[in-house]
């Protein structure tokens, strides 16, 4: 049973006038087909009227071995040479017969396209796909709006338990990581700001810089990005897994609206939790920056607070926080939409989860830019 080649040659050729005899020996198996194919390629069959392949000394024949023999015999048979399997057992004959493809169609032809054309095609495909995607997302917004209206008219339809559990997961459970990162961002902002402002002898304005940037922009934006990565992706993965298990179809057959059960609780939870998280992130970032001011600039905590009161107004805070529900809406919508788009395989869950994070962060930043334009237009 050793795999190593025990006998030196698998093939022995003898010729008697127009009769060629090929005696096979030993194991005609995958491990030795390449050598056999080489030997067969060297067989001189010119002028042969009949070829006999002798299986008497064959210890084992597998389909790879049979294939190589068949490949050798086919052109001979086609050119009118009589090919005989001598001393082949019933099983060996049956296996050889299996090699014949019959009238197998050769359909595996590749169409070659020039690379330039392929590139343009891909670009076109991508553009059309992106536009279609935007249209579908928009119609999903519409569907959600209709579902919300229905839920408002009969509040019984709102799933309270599910909503609360999502508030806990999106909001409460995110507090450690959001808090820590916001604190560190506050530290970095104050440190960098102080460094630059020192050149003008205006270190004390670090507090203004910190307060305004955190409250207006950074606090809510960073929170939204973190939540998109943490909870938006979770929405997609949860709903996507349910799609793969056909749970969403099961709901529909039981007369349960997946929009109502899966999407609305997540959407409402996100819209409640994200503003709260954003406020908390503001507090943590200012604490981080404040700590830096106290350590680096030598301001006392009461001085810091007084300067902060000077610098920021309630408007700054509201301008920041008013954006949070909109960001929340985008993140939850994209997360649920991508989840419902999952189809077929587990691979698709991963694909759509990535897609969900990329699209929701993109939309959050676009929305933030639009808000900036709006606020400057309103002169706030």
């Amino acid at each position: 049973m050793a795999i190593a080649t025990d006998s030196p040659k698998t093939l022995e050729i003898s010729r008697d006038g127009s009769q060629v005899t090929l005696a096979l020996r030993g194991r005609v198996v995958l491990a030795r087909v390449e050598a056999l194919a080489r030997d067969l390629g060297a067989v001189d069959t010119r002028g042969a009227a009949s070829v006999a392949v002798d299986f008497r000394a064959v210890e084992a024949l597998d389909s790879a071995g049979a294939w190589v023999l068949y490949r050798f015999m086919r052109p001979l048979r086609q050119s009118g040479v009589a090919v005989e399997l001598a001393h082949a057992s019933e099983a060996q004959t049956a296996l050889m017969a299996r090699m014949d493809p019959g009238a197998e169609r050769r359909t595996l032809q590749r169409v070659m396209i020039s690379p330039v054309r392929a590139l343009i095609e891909r670009l076109g495909h991508g553009t059309v796909e992106a536009l279609n995607e935007a249209r579908r997302l928009l119609s999903f917004f519409g569907l959600t709006a209709v579902t919300i209206l229905r839920a408002v008219t009969s509040p019984r339809r709102v799933r309270l338990i599910s909503f609360l559990s999502h508030v806990e997961r999106v909001g409460l459970d995110a507090m450690p990581i959001v808090g820590l990162l916001s604190f560190l961002i506050g530290v970095v902002l104050a440190y960098q700001g102080a460094d630059q402002l020192r050149a003008f002898g205006a270190e004390v304005l670090t507090v203004n810089l910190l307060g305004v940037t955190v409250l207006r922009e950074i606090g809510v934006l960073m929170t939204a990005i973190m939540v998109a990565g943490r909870s938006g992706s979770a929405f997609t993965a949860e709903i996507g897994t349910m799609k793969v298990n056909d749970e969403v179809d099961a709901m529909q057959t039981l007369g349960i609206d997946p929009m109502e059960v899966l999407v609305l609780p997540r959407l409402f939870a996100m819209m409640v939790a994200l503003p709260l998280l954003a406020f908390y992130a503001n507090v943590m970032a200012i604490m981080g920056g404040g700590m830096m001011c106290v350590l680096e600039l030598g301001v006392t905590p009461p001085q810091f607070l007084a300067q902060l009161r000077e610098a920021v107004t309630l408007t700054q805070l509201t301008v920041g926080l008013v954006k949070a529900p909109f960001f929340a809406f985008l993140i939850a919508m994209v997360g649920c939409y991508e989840g419902l788009k999952v189809g077929g395989s587990a691979e698709s869950v991963g694909l759509h989860t990535t897609q969900s994070v990329v699209v929701s962060i993109f939309l959050v930043i676009v929305a933030d830019a639009l808000f900036s334009i709006l606020f400057s237009w309103l002169k706030i």
Partner: protein
Amino acid sequence: MASDEPIIRVRGLVTRFGANTIHDGLDLDIKRGEIMALVGGSGSGKSVLLRTLIGLKKQEGGSIEIFGRDMAKLDEDERRAVQERWGVLFQNGALFSALTVAQNVRVPFSEHTRLSSKLVGDLIRLKIRMVGLPPEAGAKYASELSGGMIKRAALARALALDPEIVFLDEPTAGLDPISAAAFDQLIDDLQKSLNLTVVIVTHDLDTLAAITHRIAVLVDKHIIVGTLQELMQLDHPWIKSYFHGPRGRAAFVQGR
């Protein structure tokens, strides 16, 4: 056609999940060239036994000899050499979803052989044809195939290196009766022409009746082996209700 030399010899096998003993001192001989079925109730450890045989689960005691070699004592290279000589068909096919059918069948060749790519291409087409798939199926992905075609494609991958043993985990589960019968016929055909040793885990009574030579029944953490006729004579309550229940009767009356 089955010779008496056992190709798989299991002695005193013990497997556990935590405190839960699945097999307790199990003995089993599988002869070269036979089709052996493993049957048993849900949770009796059929799939666990299969996974233990192919080395995906470690046994807690006892020995498994395949091709006369103790599997526990092999090093990495020796294991690989033995693995080349068996093929496994998993329950849901386990085709690599990122690859086409033809690429799936190519995987064993590129991992274990150094054949020219033309010859490999020929052999891939041959295997795809041997399991009864149309040639154009080679360019398709698993997600584009029906359940029966996935099983055939997975069988083509399992047979790629012309193994001596194939392990089949519920090959006909989830197939319609016509496809299931065709799949049974395919296994029977291939077994005869390639002189395979086939180990099938199955719940399909028709498969048992149609193609298996011997049946190993897993009951009470042990195993009872016999031909269908022998097992039907036995007076064990579980075996009795298995083979003489309404479904068993329906399958075996026609099968005999």
